[in-house]
């Protein structure tokens, strides 16, 4: 049986620092995806995610409703990312934001420079499509497609109900389908593996 967020938060407040590890493991995908949404193009997602967890731990005594830890953590993550962008503002202005930091996988190497260029181009198109969505749709979309969070997990993190998330992702999916219709895709059934979490 899994402990409720509120119980884990209370343990931390009682001095059990190690209990925080449970919260990190539970929310790292969501926090990372949120950080990626804001600072992914500067390769700072992991750093910002870590900073967000530290900020959350420091501020834990200020959390009013321990059971709404997820939504509170999302706010902290957004704030941490915004602070990071502000801090880095001047330096970033003189930098080319792309390409994203990423590991070159064996598959990339097989694709060769042309394949990689296509991948980058495709990423840009997808990014633009997401940016054109209503703001409220964007984070759930990133949480879903980057980290494959379930509707329930997304709902816990954004503070919206599961039905709202289902509606948001449906409407966003329809818009993205239209926006990305011209990207070349092979015909037929497409399989994609769920990320191991």
């Amino acid at each position: 049986m899994q402990l409720k967020d509120g119980d884990v938060v209370c343990r931390c407040l009682q001095g059990d620092a190690e209990a925080f590890r449970t919260l990190v493991q539970r929310y790292q995908a969501a926090v990372y995806a949120t950080a990626f949404y804001y600072v992914g193009r500067y390769g700072a997602s992991e750093d910002v995610a870590q900073e967000a967890f530290w900020a959350a731990y420091r501020s834990l005594p200020h959390l009013r409703e321990p059971d709404r830890f997820g939504a509170w953590l999302r706010e902290i993550t957004c704030r941490t990312a915004a602070n990071w962008l502000r801090r880095q503002g001047r330096r970033l202005a003189s930098e080319t934001p792309l390409p994203h930091r990423r590991t070159v996988s064996i598959e990339d190497a097989r694709q060769g420079p042309r394949g990689r260029a296509q991948g980058r181009e495709r990423f840009e198109r997808v990014q633009q499509a997401i940016d054109s969505l209503p703001e409220r749709y964007r984070l759930p979309v990133v949480l879903r497609y980057l980290q494959e969070l379930s509707y329930e997990e997304i709902s816990r993190f954004t503070g919206e109900s599961r039905d709202e998330i289902r509606g948001i992702l449906h409407r966003a999916g329809r818009q993205l389908r239209d926006l990305l219709a011209d990207i070349d895709q092979s015909e037929g059934e497409i399989q994609w593996p769920r990320a191991d979490r």
């Binding site: 049986m1 001095g15 059990d16 620092a17 190690e18 200020h62 321990p66 997808v126 509707y151």
Partner: protein, 428 residues
Amino acid sequence: MATCRQIESLTQGYIDGEVSDSERLILEEHVSGCRVCDRVLKRHKQSTALLYETFEAYRLIQDLSAPVMAHLPEMDRAPLTARTVREVNWRAKHETVGMSRLLRLLPALAPVLIVGLALAIFYSWPQNGHAPTESIGMVMFCQGEVSRSSEAGLDPQGVDLSSPVAAGDRFETGNEAAMMLSLAGPTAIKVAANTRVKIHNERRISVERGRAWLHVGKDVRLFRVNTAMGDAVVFGTTFDVRVEQGMTVVTVADGCVQVETDVAFRELNAGEQATLRIGKRPLDVLAVDALAELAWAEAIVPDGNAQLAFADTVAPKSPAPMAAEQFFVVQTNGRAVQSLTFEWKPAGDVANTGGYYVYVYDDQMSQLFSDHVRAEVFQIPDRRSVDVVVPGDPLRDVRVLHIKVVPDGDAGESETVFTKVSAWGIYP
């Protein structure tokens, strides 16, 4: 039948595996017969696949918990709101799930919560109990050469059946002699031949030589048997103490007995036998046929008239007995522990409080250390806590401490009720 519009509203949930079984069936049924919706679903799948594929390379691979936990900052010292405190306290009591493993120590001096008060049987000591009367017991059986010497230092005298036993009496049996005493409690003591026992009070005796069988009534207060090599401490049980050259053998037939020497302590259960030697740790414990070991005592049965006399004179004088063991569980979760703090409620009669033994075990109930807190500590009027320092190196790699606190029974009759035990440490 579902309309195409209704079906379209299910497509994303269907692809994401987030629709109910009935919705899934309705959609599949509809799509199999509707080419428009089938095409829409295919296109939707393609764009969804494209999104997953595009993001796949950016997915979080490493576990962030290790780096996050390795540099955890200090928590703000902002005072918790009263509501939060209430909630934290409430949850501490109502939580049901076990702990995860812990590796790090908290910011210095953060108290560890008491998770459970597993056993705490508190009764107040009698306010108007009888002053130690001359008689705390009675001789129930007497055979062969048995002599008694008293605290007053009189010459050893013969022992009569049904004669009273006073604190400080020392009994000695000769060859082929045997004796049985009953002490208020009630506690029955059968004394084998060539044995010397001293009755300190109704809760403490010494076996100085030879062998004694004891049956300590279930509701008595802690009962202690001293020997030169170590002690046996019980609440209620049947056991046997044999003192030989350089060692004491304790065999338990029923219940549980704590045995302890100068360096070791351990609980024995029925069917176990421990050999106590000075400076020897751990204790040697064997599984034995306890009934066979204790069979010698069966021949000693109390005299009927003495039993009646005991019931009339000694037993009723004994006030309602009280158990006084207090048991605490403190979660330390692997953090280094350097000391324990015991807090207590102010007692009504501080001048009359006794000292306490503290026994600390790990979660396997293996011995960690023990200590004794003197009665004087509890007799200081405004004092509310005492620290017990872990001897030697701090305790590490122990997730849970089981702490037993028992009165030493040597002084004072007013009980101290412990309210909280905390474990303290520092950064490793």
